[in-house]
């Protein structure tokens, strides 16, 4: 446990998940502390995205518990799960912007449905402010199809911030982006923590993203965490051959 993080807000214990014969998670334990950026590393198909989808109830685990802010997600009613979801922002791998809506409508959509009695002025201020903070104020009236991959990722992140979440979950934030845009997204992830006081789980297989954004790394290999700790602890002094091979593989790539 890192000395500067004391308040545990997510506690995952013994989580297993299978899809038919494919045992993706084989008893996973993980903690997330307040204001911490935790990076979950692993190869494609190792179950990283499954883990965060279990956290927000998009999937159900076969075994184990996930406690978020002291609430066991499996025991929550849909109404209570939705209340919990409002405290969690989920930035999808492919951004998941609504194709039929403009950027403004995409941003307003979760806001007007979850926060009652907002005036038009308040909505505009919020949306425009967030677009400013991700550096894309001019895209407000554009359709998602008119945006680049990097712009979509930024707006996807801005859309999740509209509900002021306490936890951010980033699913492969730099996947499919050029190196310059990757740097921008990594900086944005750090900026979000500073400006919005969020705790984050960043799912990635990109070691540069992990090193820049993460306070701690958790390496998921064959359905279990093989190493958890700081970047140096996990990789520089890695003794586990599986973790070493993951590190070597990334740098050779």
């Amino acid at each position: 446990m890192p000395s500067d993080y004391t308040k545990k807000i997510v506690e995952i214990r013994g989580v297993k998940k299978s899809f038919d014969e494919n045992h993706v998670l084989r008893g996973v334990d993980l903690d997330l502390y307040e204001r911490e950026n935790l990076v979950v590393l692993g190869k494609s198909g190792s179950g990283k995205s499954v883990l965060i989808k279990l956290m927000v109830g998009l999937l159900q685990q076969d075994e184990g518990t996930i406690n978020i802010f002291g609430q066991d997600t499996t025991k929550l009613s849909l109404k209570d799960l939705n209340k919990l979801r409002l405290k969690i922002g989920f930035a999808f791998q492919a951004s998941a912007l609504y194709d039929s809506m403009t950027v403004r409508e995409n941003m307003e959509f979760p806001l007007v449905r979850n926060v009652k009695n907002l005036t038009r002025k308040e909505i505009n201020l919020k949306v425009e402010g967030l677009l400013d903070s991700v550096g894309l104020p001019k895209t407000i009236n554009q359709m998602p199809a008119e945006l680049s991959g990097g712009q979509k990722k930024r707006i996807g992140i801005a859309r999740t911030l509209v509900l002021e979440p306490e936890i951010m979950l980033y699913d492969e934030p730099t996947a499919g982006l050029d190196p310059t845009t990757c740097i921008d997204i990594n900086n944005l992830i750090n900026q979000v923590r500073e400006e919005y006081n969020t705790s984050s789980i960043v799912i990635t297989h990109d070691l540069t993203c992990a090193k820049v954004t993460g306070d701690r790394m958790a390496v998921l290999i064959e359905g279990q965490f093989q190493a958890i700790g700081s970047f140096e602890e996990v990789f520089a002094q890695a003794k586990d051959p599986k973790v070493k091979s993951f590190y070597d593989y990334n740098f050779i790539q």
Binding site: D20, E21, K53, V56, G57, L58, N82, K83, R85, L86, I88, F90, F92, Q93, A94, A96, L97, Y98, D99, S100, F109, P110, R113, N114, L163
Partner: protein, 265 residues
């Protein structure tokens, strides 16, 4: 391992198991619609948007098809009637055929192709690009926003489109009759209204409501359950059309039996 083998063992056969599981899923989907449609939020704005997309944007295709159906059907019926010197019955014959069967059926089949496939593809693509998941994690009920609104819109708009198709087909028929039998507009429509009864119009509208509901719910179901990326989207759109058309014919057959039972009771 043995537990896995036991778990994946088919109850009857793999294909039949899949069929019955699919059927149960479809019933659960329809049941969910009827559970959710009555409760807020009502999403009026989205229903109106869908009504515009489904109704107004289908008008050009429906107009053309209805008009051609009216002309062709009149032309094809004439030789049989002229053998008995009964071409003066053409307006009555055409109106009964159009109002009772052809109007609703032609409209529903065209809407199944145009609207059903577009709903299937739209929701399917939202599913595979995680847009539906994005709604769910924002505490928005995607079923309510996507499925309920589109199904309400098709259920409301298909009867209106059917009335419009009936009218356009009758105009097409009138032009043909007017050219050949020199019947005036007023005489044509007097004969049309004398031939049809309240039951004809009422049953046609009720049937259209069912057709509309079928097109909407099937398109949404296929889209909502699509998988396997873009290939799945194409399959969802295709399956929406095929399944809707199949169900429309079955419903037409059932409606015919019910209306005949009422008519001749």
């Amino acid at each position: 391992m043995s537990e896995n083998i036991e778990r994946n063992k088919p109850v009857i056969s793999k294909k039949l198991d899949k069929f019955f599981t699919g059927l149960a899923d479809a019933f659960r989907f329809v049941k969910r619609f009827f559970q959710e449609v009555w409760f807020p939020p009502y999403e009026f704005k989205e229903v109106l948007r869908q009504c515009y997309e489904i109704g107004y944007r289908s008008l050009p295709l429906i107009s053309l098809t209805g008009f051609i159906v009216g002309i062709v059907f009149t032309n094809q019926s004439r030789p049989s009637l002229s053998e008995f010197g009964a071409t003066s019955w053409l307006p009555a014959l055409i109106s009964i055929a159009i109002i009772r069967a052809m109007g609703p059926l032609v409209t529903a089949l065209i809407a199944a192709g145009k609207v059903g496939s577009s709903i299937g593809a739209e929701i399917g693509s939202m599913k595979v690009t995680e847009q539906i998941d994005a709604m769910e994690v924002s505490a928005i009920n995607p079923f309510k926003y996507l499925v309920v609104t589109r199904t309400i819109a098709t259920t409301l708009m298909i009867p209106i489109l059917v009335l419009y198709t009936d009218f356009v087909a009758l105009i097409g028929s009138f032009i043909n009759v007017n050219q050949n039998e020199l019947v005036s507009l007023s005489t044509f429509f007097v004969q049309v209204f004398e031939a049809i009864s309240f039951l004809d119009v009422f049953s046609s509208l009720i049937k259209s409501l069912v057709f509309g509901f079928t097109i909407g719910i099937v398109g949404c179901y296929k889209g909502y359950n699509s998988s396997n990326g873009t290939e799945g989207v194409g399959k969802a759109a295709n399956a929406s059309v095929v399944m809707s058309m199949f169900l429309i014919f079955i419903e037409e057959l059932l409606a015919l039996q019910i209306v005949n039972a009422i008519r001749y009771a």
